[in-house]
Amino acid sequence: MKFKLTFWKAVFLVIMGLGLYSSYVRFFHGLGAATNMSDQFPWGFWIGFDCLCGVMLAAGGFCMVGAVYLFNVERLHPVVKPAVLTAFLGYLLFICGLLFDLGRPWFIWHQLIYRNLHSVMFEVGMCVMTYTTVLFFEFLPNVFERLNWKTPITWIHRIYPILIVAGILLSTLHQSSLGSLYLIMPSKLHPFWYTPALPFFFFASAVAVGLAMTIFESTQSAKAFGRQLELPVLVTLGGALLVALWVNLLLRIEDYYHRDLLREIFKPSYEAYFLWIELILTYVIPITMLSFKKVRLSPQLLYFASVSAVLGFITNRLNIAVIGFETYVGHHFVPRWTEYSITLMMIAMGFFLFGLAVKYLPIFAAETEHHAEEPRVIQAAPALSHAGD
């Protein structure tokens, strides 16, 4: 196969090159050389983006599995496989990201033997580990289908109910526990973001992001891999996203009301500016847009609303992880370029692996279980062969 350098391939190579250099700095010169973290800011951009956002952005997997297999929303069936693939890759990359952030990553397995049952971090770690295994099994049928191994597929289908229930249970636990991590810092995290309700917020936002990311990813893949967009799927997701955003917003308002902050959040301050960005991106833009039927029926506008919501929730997590501590610490946290570079490398790897999986595995083909019509698969094949471009 001849290698043709396209614009995106060039971008990918540059990102990977810089990322590898940054990895060298990280592992051969230490965290101090590769990041701007310090005794004042022991957790920086990596915890905020790679961990908090990474896990949240991978929530589409459990949301779609829940919708289709638990609640039997048959309409959403076409998006389950890509959502599970995104989640599986997302968690793998999250674990890779963690290996960069941990001071002694070679001891990560210590969690298994020196268990501290009181630690939220221990719970998150165990859940993420188990859930990644569950995702692996949910993803495995793709490989078996490709290899045309019938028997292992039936085995996995036999344990599917267990995988589904376990996957959603584990997701509920660790998505919310990522919020619980911050419960022990009442004196440090700014009151705009510190609330006893953090675990609930983290779970509720994960569900909303799961929906928004599925819309984003369906539209994106349709463009990249030349597939037909399933409009009824998007319309269903858009409607659900609107409900999820309203639930999130009402929870936030309720929380601010209870803690007497409703007036405070409108007073200009450093934290308020970031809160406003967050609220406008997460709620004002997408809720206004999605309230119009015209938007919910237009793939393009739906895409825009979802991207806005996703960016809003990313802002929220970064506010919690970084901005919310700046007043307490007394100075700003500005990540070093190597920090961005490694995060970018993770994201680029995600896109690359997704493209690879789509190219070689029947991700977008109907499941054999549902009696795929052969012509459709064949028709899709020429489009898929460009997947790696």
Binding site: F27, F28, H29, G30, L31, G32, A33, M37, S38, D39, Q40, P42, W43, Y69, L70, F71, N72, D101, L102, G103, R104, P105, F107, I108, H110, Q111, Y114, R115, N116, L117, H118, S119, V120, M121, F122, E123, G125, P161, I164, V165, I168, L169, T172, L173, S177, S180, L181, L183, I184, M185, P186, S187, K188, P199
Partner: protein, 255 residues
């Protein structure tokens, strides 16, 4: 009974001998340049701060219920019976949750190291176990840092304040803060001026309770939620099965 340190800022003359003794005890470098550093770090577990010719020591508070120990996923930190909060470096994975969780910002990190450790005052656990006092208390020429039983030190602190109310602020910092600490401070100035968090800000509730409230619900939540999820699965698939069976029956009837 657990051991503790009482630091009386009114007795401190700022000689920094505690800093030097601490460095020696923990095999850390110490010279004039390090003595002049006004912050704690991976190579300086304790520091004597100066403000308007008044002194204040900072060191790990050795909380009765330490946040660092409760958050550590691998239990690398724990409070010993005798009082010190100690660190088992061979367990540590380097997540630094102890650092962000500590209300006093005591754990420091070896940011430049390729195999970094968390560093903080560990209250000379070997000396304490051998019945000796900590290195800093032993060397202190004025008795500003005093080692002893926590209860006895509290009684003594109260007595000193009572006997000399003009010299002291009427409070023992560490008596009830975050559920009480094994380092107690009395001073003529506000400890907050030297970077200690204000008492109302950190409260009197032990830090582990903030996350404990959530963690203790998990054992109940897991079976309950499994049951709910399994139930939903069963109902929604049962509906399909019934529909399929009815369909089959109808078709069968037609034939």
């Amino acid at each position: 009974m657990s051991k503790a340190l009482l630091y009386d800022a009114t007795l401190c003359i700022g000689c920094k001998q505690c800093e030097g003794a601490c460095a020696q005890q923990n095999h850390l470098p110490y010279d004039d340049a390090i003595a002049a550093e006004p912050v704690q770090s991976a190579h300086k577990y304790t520091v004597v701060l100066t403000k308007n010719d008044k002194y204040m020591r900072r060191l790990c508070m050795h909380c009765q219920e330490p946040a660092c120990a409760s958050v550590c996923p691998v239990g690398a930190l724990h409070k010993t019976e005798a009082g010190p909060v100690v660190y088992d470096v061979w367990k540590c994975i380097g997540c630094r949750y102890c650092m962000v969780a500590c209300p006093f910002n005591q754990p420091k990190y070896e940011w430049q190291s390729l195999n970094p450790r968390v560093r903080k005052c560990i209250m000379c656990p070997d000396r304490v176990a051998a019945g000796k006092q900590t290195a800093c208390a032993e060397i202190c020429p004025t008795g500003a840092t005093k080692f002893g039983e926590r209860d006895e030190l509290i009684a003594e602190a109260k007595q000193r304040i009572e006997q000399n109310p003009a010299n002291y602020k009427n409070r023992i910092y560490g008596l009830n803060e975050v559920g009480g600490t094994s380092v107690l401070l009395i001073a003529g100035t506000d400890v907050e001026d030297y970077g200690y968090p204000a008492s109302p800000k950190i409260g009197e509730k032990p830090m582990p309770e903030y996350t404990g409230r959530v963690m203790e619900r998990i054992p109940d939540f897991v079976p309950l939620w499994t049951l709910v999820l399994g139930g939903i699965y069963w109902i929604s698939h049962r509906r399909d099965e019934v529909a399929a069976a009815e369909e089959a029956e109808k078709n069968g009837g037609k034939r």
